[in-house]
């Protein structure tokens, strides 16, 4: 490993996700934040890893690291997973993907931008990546390269979110219902919700609406006590099931999810209510199967009825749109990745520049000391001025080579130039002491 050009630090991603691994494997390997910290400590103790990052959600387990020795590092990381989760490597290794260089960078950007998620564009992933990154920083595992990589990843995610419609379309039934409510009512904060019956999806829809600051939730359940419990959950109030019709006079959004075999509200019941509520809009979300709300109610002016099928249609079209938006988002990822890679390439130049400068400074200093000693002049009294002179000689000699290294132009092969430079100045057998030795001989 004498040539440090070959030893360039490489970014490597190793992991598995919902596409590559079945849920049983994902369950077995998923890491809690304590386990992540433990894993990071284990990785840190191995000198082969320069920087590292560990990430785990219900759909993926991943490690991103920087190393000079990719193959050995990969072996080590599998060992670490195996030790931590107490599973033999052979049981999970086949489900893992490995990326390095440009592919690895793009993968990290894609994951953060939610382009690699099971539900494309879901917003939680960015927060999860950020949390994992914080752990990596606080444990001292993330340094120059990963810090830059993740900051760029967060920027990419933001850019993708603002410049494409990837997060714009609801892809769950309950979100689709909220999206619709927002197109009927301008200000949800003054609207009242009535939940009829109970059910996971209905409760989720109510939660989303509350999240959007609706005023008050009322719950009507056949068993009043169950209604009370639910109402407490949403800090709302319970009404009796028989009061539903009269409640239509003041409720704005009705979410229905009962187990009733027949319609619980019909057109003839709702129509007279509209006059009482001064024709202000009424929005029915019918999540029950079989349906609770007579679809004919949709024909009444200013009344809108959506059932589960309607909402799933919305979700399906939105899903397709998100996939289309993901194609646009990939352009952003490519663009950001190439920016990052050119920064990283530049980074490799820096150690060479430092070494080159040290070498030249060493030579000048050495020759100066020698000359002064021979002439019998005390060097110390001239020190500040002389130091400055040495620096400026070095800068002048090295100005052009350094500028060239930093901007070699796109078509030039930087590693070749670096290697040539290191050979010309014999930088790989560096240290001023050696130079002195050679000179003094």
């Amino acid at each position: 490993m004498g040539n440090s050009i070959i030893e360039k630090p490489e970014i490597v991603v190793v992991g598995m996700n919902h596409r590559t691994a079945p849920v049983e494997i994902r369950e077995k390997l998923s890491l809690s934040s304590e386990e992540i910290l433990m894993g990071l400590e284990m990785i840190k103790s191995k000198k082969i890893f320069k920087e590292s990052f560990l990430f785990s959600t219900c759909n993926r387990v991943e490690s991103v690291f920087v190393t000079n020795f990719k193959e050995e590092a990969l072996k080590k990381i599998y060992e670490i997973f195996s030790i931590m989760k107490n599973i033999p490597i052979s049981e999970f290794k086949t489900y893992f993907y490995e990326y390095s260089g440009e592919e690895a960078v793009k993968h990290v950007f894609k994951v953060s931008s939610s382009l690699d998620s099971m539900v494309i564009g879901e917003p939680q992933i960015l927060g999860q990546v950020k949390d994992a990154y914080k752990l990596s920083v606080s444990s001292g595992n993330s340094k120059v390269i990963l810090n830059r990589l993740f900051h760029r990843a967060f920027q990419t995610a933001k850019k993708v979110r603002t410049n494409t419609g990837i997060g714009g379309h609801a892809v769950s039934i309950s979100y689709a219902a909220v999206e619709l409510a927002k197109k009927i009512f301008n200000d949800l904060s003054s609207k009242k919700i009535l939940l009829i019956g109970a059910g996971e999806m209905a409760e989720l829809a109510v939660e989303h609406l509350i999240h959007n600051k609706t005023a008050h939730v009322f719950v009507a359940n056949r068993t009043f006590e169950r209604g009370l419990v639910l109402a407490k959950k949403f800090s709302g109030s319970a009404i009796r099931f028989e009061e539903v019709i009269s409640a239509l006079e003041w409720a704005d959004i009705i979410i229905s999810s009962t187990g009733a075999p027949d319609y619980i509200l019909t057109k003839t019941q709702v129509k007279p209510v509209m006059k009482k509520r001064k024709n202000s809009p009424l929005f029915f979300i019918d999540i029950a199967v079989p349906r609770d709300i007579d679809p004919n109610i949709n024909k009444i002016n200013n009344v809108y009825v959506y059932d589960v099928d309607d909402l799933s249609d919305v979700v399906n079209t939105n899903m397709k749109q998100r996939q289309e938006e993901a194609i646009i988002a990939m352009n952003i990822v490519d663009d950001m990745a190439s920016h990052f890679l050119s920064w990283k390439q530049n980074l490799k130049v820096v150690p060479t520049i430092v070494e080159l400068r040290e070498k030249i400074q060493g030579i000048v200093k050495f020759e100066l000391e020698k000359t002064m000693k021979e002439s019998g002049i005390e060097l110390d009294s001239y020190a500040p001025g002389i130091e400055k002179m040495i620096d400026s000689i070095c800068n002048k000699i090295l100005h052009h080579p350094i500028t060239f290294l930093k901007e070699p132009g796109g078509h030039r092969d930087l590693p070749t130039y670096l290697s040539m430079l290191r050979n010309l100045f014999n930088l790989d057998e560096k240290s001023v002491a050696t130079i002195r030795k050679i000179n003094s001989k």
């Binding site: 603002t162 410049n163 494409t164 419609g165 714009g168 379309h169 619709l180 927002k182 197109k183 009927i184 009512f185 301008n186 200000d187 001064k278 024709n279 202000s280 809009p281 949709n298 002016n301 200013n302 809108y304 959506y306 309607d310 249609d313 919305v314 079209t317």
Partner: protein, 279 residues
């Protein structure tokens, strides 16, 4: 200067359009500022022409079109600070660019208004009536928006337009606001007209068909406001009424002016009026 208006309004439209396509708010803002600049140029054009003529350029269909379109832009800006209605800027900018483009090809009429026509009163009368029309025009567009969005939601067609249009509630509120503004301005315009008529003709109302039609318009909009307040006409019905109301205005503006011999019509056609002015 008139030749600059259609392309500038059209470029505002392009920015509005792109902002929807690319989902960039910065493009929408640029569109708005271009529209603002176009409005300013529009104003200077009218002001310079007014100074040159010595009276408000309100006579002849060419000037009426240019002035109407200016008031629409003016009212759009006014509305913008109260209600942010999505897509409205794009629709207004393209319509204005078409109207101003058409006005370029309209012949310029030489018209000498009666010497003792009070310029200031004319200006105030014109200001209120034109602003009223602009407000009703905006209410009509918002009514169309409402019908489109209502149809989208009712028929469960939640596509491109649905996602980009404002909520029904805001469309209705903004529409109500426009109608109220328009009604106030129309009332003021008619009141000034009546008083002024007494001053120059000696009687409050000449039973000129234009005047009668204006009163009809006033009554219709009063009814619309009443309907909206009592919540009889809400939602779709209110939107339909706003569109109907504006069609009546269009009829009174074009139909009556062209097909009848109202003295307001003489202004519209721009041929010398046979107005008998007292004193």
């Amino acid at each position: 200067m008139l030749f600059f208006l259609p392309p500038i309004y059209f470029s505002a439209f392009i920015f509005y359009f792109l902002s929807q396509l690319k989902r960039k708010d910065s493009l929408r803002k640029t569109g708005f500022f271009i529209m603002l600049a176009a409005g300013a140029i529009h104003f200077f054009y009218l002001a310079l022409k007014g100074i040159k003529l010595g009276y408000l350029p309100t006579f002849g269909s060419k000037d009426i079109m240019i002035e109407s379109s200016f008031f629409i832009v003016f009212f759009f800006m006014f509305l913008f600070f109260k209600y942010k209605v999505d897509l409205l800027g794009g629709v207004v900018s393209i319509l204005i660019s078409v109207i101003t483009l058409a006005s370029i090809f309209m012949p310029e009429y030489q018209y000498q208004p009666p010497g003792n026509l009070n310029i200031v009163i004319t200006a105030v009368h014109v200001f209120f009536t034109f602003l009223a029309n602009a407000a009703f025009f905006m209410a009509c567009i918002l009514g169309c928006f409402y019908l489109i969005q209502e149809r989208n939601i009712k028929e469960k067609k939640l596509g491109f337009v649905f996602k980009r249009m404002s909520s029904l509630e805001i469309l209705e509120e903004a529409g109500n606001f426009c109608i109220l503004c328009g009604f106030i301005c129309l009332s003021a315009g008619i009141a000034i007209g009546i008083v002024w008529s007494k001053h120059i003709f000696g009687y409050f109302i000449s039973f000129d068909i234009k005047e009668l039609w204006s009163l009809l318009t006033w009554i219709i909009y009063a009814a619309i406001i009443h309907g909206r307040l009592t919540s009889e006409w809400k939602g779709k019905k209110a939107a339909l009424m706003a569109i109907l109301g504006f069609f009546i205005i269009i009829f009174s503006l074009i139909g009556i002016n062209i097909f009848t011999d109202s003295f307001h019509g003489e202004f519209f056609k721009g041929s010398p009026a046979n107005i008998v002015i007292k004193g």
